[in-house]
Amino acid sequence: MYTLFKVELFKIFKRQRTYLSFIGIGAFIIIIQLGLKVDGKELIEFVLGDLSNSFQFNGKMLNGYFVCFVLLQSLLVHVPLLIALISGDLISGEANMGTLRLLLSKPISRTEFVLAKFSAATVYTLLLLVWVAFLSLFISMFIFGTDDMFLLKNDYAVQIAENDVFWRYIGAFFFAGIAMTTVAALAFFLSQFSENSLGPIVATMLIIIILTIFSTMSIPIFNRIKPFMFTTHMVAWKEFFDVKVDAENINIKGSIQHFEKIIHSALILLIHIVAFVSLTIFTIRKKDILS
């Protein structure tokens, strides 16, 4: 299977669209960073809103850590799209080119075929995230410097000490890796039902967008199914940026307010990954290759 995995990775990284993904997301991030460098003050004022009537804030509010958080929130749609672009093409693209029938007539099992392709998709996903992390965190730190991180939640504001932020981003990106791999698994699963990669890509994005809209609505019917929707759990990376406080309401350094939520969400996402991949294996094994 290792040979097959290497072959799949080779094919992904020989395609132009793979590099276009990296360039595209890079351009997007840099444009936002430049925009914030020029107009960031206004964003801070807007973000602080009412609070600035009661409090004076001193320090570098617009710093690399804050900018990275803004970027990650903005990339909610873009990164999943780029993941779907590659994963959604993995089987449908082969069917379209006709290479699927030759691949599956080779002495490799269909299970190995699916696992090797998905593993390669996962590697691409993680590399894309490393790239996003490099640009949105490290380059932001370079351009904007670092300081405490100040964030607004619905009911309270959180200030995290500068020396308590970086490790949270490592955790957040690691979690994002699981979340984006779930997107990859979904697109990969849908890829087998089409001989054109556009279908699975659009279908994946539609599912994510629609489920995300359901997640944002507090309607009783949706509240019941929300805990099972993977989109509900994809945003749990933000929990890394909430701290516990002591009896005097002072931050406990190195703590996470709802660590159990992160674990719970990660497990739900992992279950989704296993389910999507298992379903793919099950259907591919039964599928007559007629393309």
Binding site: N58, L152, A161, V243, V245, E248, I250, N251
Partner: protein, 228 residues
Amino acid sequence: MRHSTFFFILFFCLKATSAQSNDDLLKKVKTKLELVNDYIVDAKMRTNVAFIKAPIGSIKIYFKKPNLLKIVKEKGISILPKGGININTFSILGITDYTTIDAGESIINGIKTKVIKLLPLNENSDVVISTLYIDETTELIKKTSITTKENGSFEMEFTYGTFANIGLPDKMIFTFNVKDYKMPKGITLDFEDNLTKEEKAKLKNKKGKIEFIYSNYIINKGIANNMF
């Protein structure tokens, strides 16, 4: 008739006497404070506002007579209540035009204090009324309550140590009023309702507190005006 007149006169003399002792006490407090021309001090800030989770902050405070004050945060973000934080004992006692009112006594942290209210006579003064709780034995202000026009009411409570002889505290607790905080979900992009009932109730606390712990006083070494 003679009795009531007598008591009236006695009361008036006593009042005159107590008024004089208010001014005397304030003068003594002022005399102590006037030994300080300027100081620089490091302070650790512990913010206790219901809807703000903050780490312990570090600031540097610069002061120069009569009322120049600057708070500098070299690293990190500081969140300070607007207006009131710049008021200090020097600025209160620096007001020359005021009337004092004897408000009796009060126990602050187990210490008996004399309560004096100061009413600025200047109508344009931002301070509406200040209440000082003074320890007569040590001639130190233990607590102040101040009501301002622009920035509402707040309190300052002082604890002294090394520099009690010149009225510089080791610790100051600044208490103030806060408004409700709520951010729209469309801005925070947080669509989960995470809080328990108890947590939500806690957030309704309308009082905020910041505790300053002072250390490394540098006193009367001179500070350039351009620092402010």
